[in-house]
């Protein structure tokens, strides 16, 4: 295996070992092991139903909310097992935030949406909240569009603006890891482009893990790509290598559009 072009590999953020996840006994993820690296973008690709979203939702234990889900194996976040008994799930989700497929701003003002996270984590000072809101909206490339209507309902924003608002809302809580579950699939091409630019910007500071069904998007935004098929991890490596010289025939078939 030739890794001459690979950058030096830092300590992984997530270490996943022998992960198996089942819905009422039906496995959705089968014995997956991989390492996910900080300050980079890792894309999870694969056809619908391949388990990529289930995998993503295991990383901040959102699967806990679905009745009948069983999780086996180990997921270490900076060395600590996030499924160990006694783990503070609320704190885990604060560190590992999530953006969903459909934008889900709360039915409140733009300001209150972004301030929601800091407020629940104990920030009450008005000036500090304002500063956090401005910084987060700026980082999410939304500030200029909404600065004059911060106290208007977030539901009046366009879909693309709503999704960037959801990202801003996440940035306001100082997460370390951003999980994005097909964040642009419900958006038009221009909004999608803005989200992708934003991801590119944010990867200098965050570990970004993104599920996408869009091959071109995975190719454009990610540093590493993991290909799932029927719950199994088929191939995982630097995006350039996975796309240009896939080792597995099934990866090649999927990327070249022969199925999926």
């Amino acid at each position: 295996m030739d890794h001459v072009h690979a950058p030096p590999v830092p300590a992984p953020t997530f270490t996943v070992r022998n992960l198996t996840i089942a819905y009422s006994g039906n496995p959705a993820i089968k014995n997956v092991s991989l390492d996910l690296y900080p300050r980079s973008v890792t894309a999870f690709i694969g056809p619908s139903g391949c388990g990529k979203s289930t995998f993503l939702r295991a990383l901040n234990r959102m699967n806990d909310l679905i009745p009948g889900v069983t999780t086996q194996g180990r997921i270490l976040l900076e060395g600590e097992d996030i499924y160990a008994p006694g783990v503070d799930v609320v704190n885990l989700r604060k560190r590992v935030g999530m953006v969903f497929q459909r934008p889900n701003p709360f039915p409140m003002s733009i300001f209150d949406n972004v301030a929601y996270g800091p407020r629940i984590h104990g920030v009450t000072d008005r000036d500090r909240l304002s500063a956090i809101v401005e910084r987060s909206l700026t980082a999410a490339a939304l500030w200029d569009e909404v600065k004059d209507r911060l106290h208007k309902s977030a539901l009046d924003l366009s879909g693309g603006q709503q999704q960037r608002l959801c990202i801003a809302r996440l940035l306001a809580v100082d997460s370390e890891v951003l999980l994005m579950d097909e964040p642009a699939s419900a958006l038009d091409p221009i909004s999608t482009g803005k989200i992708e630019d934003l991801i590119d910007e944010l990867k200098n500071r965050y570990t970004i893990l993104i599920v996408t069904h869009n091959m071109q998007q995975a190719g454009r935004v990610s540093d590493r790509t993991a290909f799932f098929l029927s719950g199994e991890l088929i191939e995982y490596g630097l995006t350039a290598e996975v796309f240009e010289s896939p080792r597995d025939r099934r990866t090649e078939d999927y990327i070249t559009g022969r199925f999926g």
Binding site: L65, R93, F106
Partner: protein, 260 residues
């Protein structure tokens, strides 16, 4: 509609002969002497209803939230029929229990005659509870799951998610629950009549007896004739107007909220 016209036709003559304002605002109800002032009954109805809502709204919304969000499914399945059962008990049975248990308890615990605004309010509070629980629970369940996920994914606790996102989002439905409960409370006759003492004086405390508009009609209709009977129909008109005013106020409050 026909009932309304009938009541109006039978009651309006008294408004003309006795004076509508005098009928509503004076406090003397002496049918034998031709004095028909229903102000004490208006006050009695409003006090008993307000007291009932003060008890039933926090309790009912709390129970609805518990059933919809926090209770494990088997517990919720066991509790819901118990709440529904409360709605199936005939009001005269409530009145009987109030008479046998509540009135003596209030007499010994707080003094006074026991027959009181407080007894009526407590009893009505229990009676409207099932309505409020059922409607509020539906409203809470109707809040999109994405709001909950969005909140939890930011590291909010289930409690913060409930109080800061889910309940505010369900507020229009909760207001509807309160309005329905209010309608039920103000129209209730038999149970209230049995525990409030029914004196026609203006109640001067929660422990004083009172008569509601509905009780006024029910108590005297069997023997009233002439102007006295007209006065009872006129009481019915006032009851209509009070209910319409309360509904209008609720609708106004909701519209104001939607605009905000």
């Amino acid at each position: 509609m026909i009932i309304g016209l009938f009541v109006a036709a039978r009651g309006l003559p008294l408004f003309l002969s006795f004076g509508a304002w005098r009928f509503i605002a004076s406090s003397q109800w002496e049918p034998a002497q031709g004095l028909f002032g229903v102000f004490p009954m208006i006050a009695g109805s409003l006090l008993v209803t307000a007291g009932a809502l003060l008890l039933a709204v926090p309790l009912g919304v709390g129970m609805a939230a518990f059933l919809a969000e926090l209770a494990p499914a088997p517990l919720a399945r066991a509790l819901r029929p118990a709440v529904d059962l409360l709605a199936g008990i005939p009001s005269v049975v409530y009145g009987f229990v109030g008479l046998a248990v509540l009135v003596p308890w209030i007499r010994s615990a707080f003094g006074g005659p026991g027959f009181s605004v407080l007894a009526g309010a407590l009893l009505l509070g229990v009676m409207v509870l099932p309505t409020i629980v059922a409607v509020a629970e539906d409203a809470i369940r109707a809040v999109p799951r994405t709001y909950r996920e969005g909140s939890l994914a930011l590291g909010a606790t289930p409690w913060q998610t409930l109080t800061r996102v889910v309940l505010p989002a369900a507020r229009p439905g909760i207001v509807a629950a309160v309005v329905l409960g209010m309608g039920r409370a103000i129209g209730e006759t038999m149970a209230v009549l049995m525990v409030t003492g029914n004196v026609t004086a203006l109640p001067d405390s929660l422990l004083a007896p009172a008569r509601t508009l509905t009780a006024n009609i029910a108590l005297e209709m069997s023997y009233a004739s002439g102007r006295h009977q007209e006065a009872l129909f006129a009481t019915g008109i006032v009851l209509f107007l009070v209910i319409m005013a309360l509904n209008a106020a609720a609708a106004l409050a909701r519209r104001k909220e939607e605009r905000a």
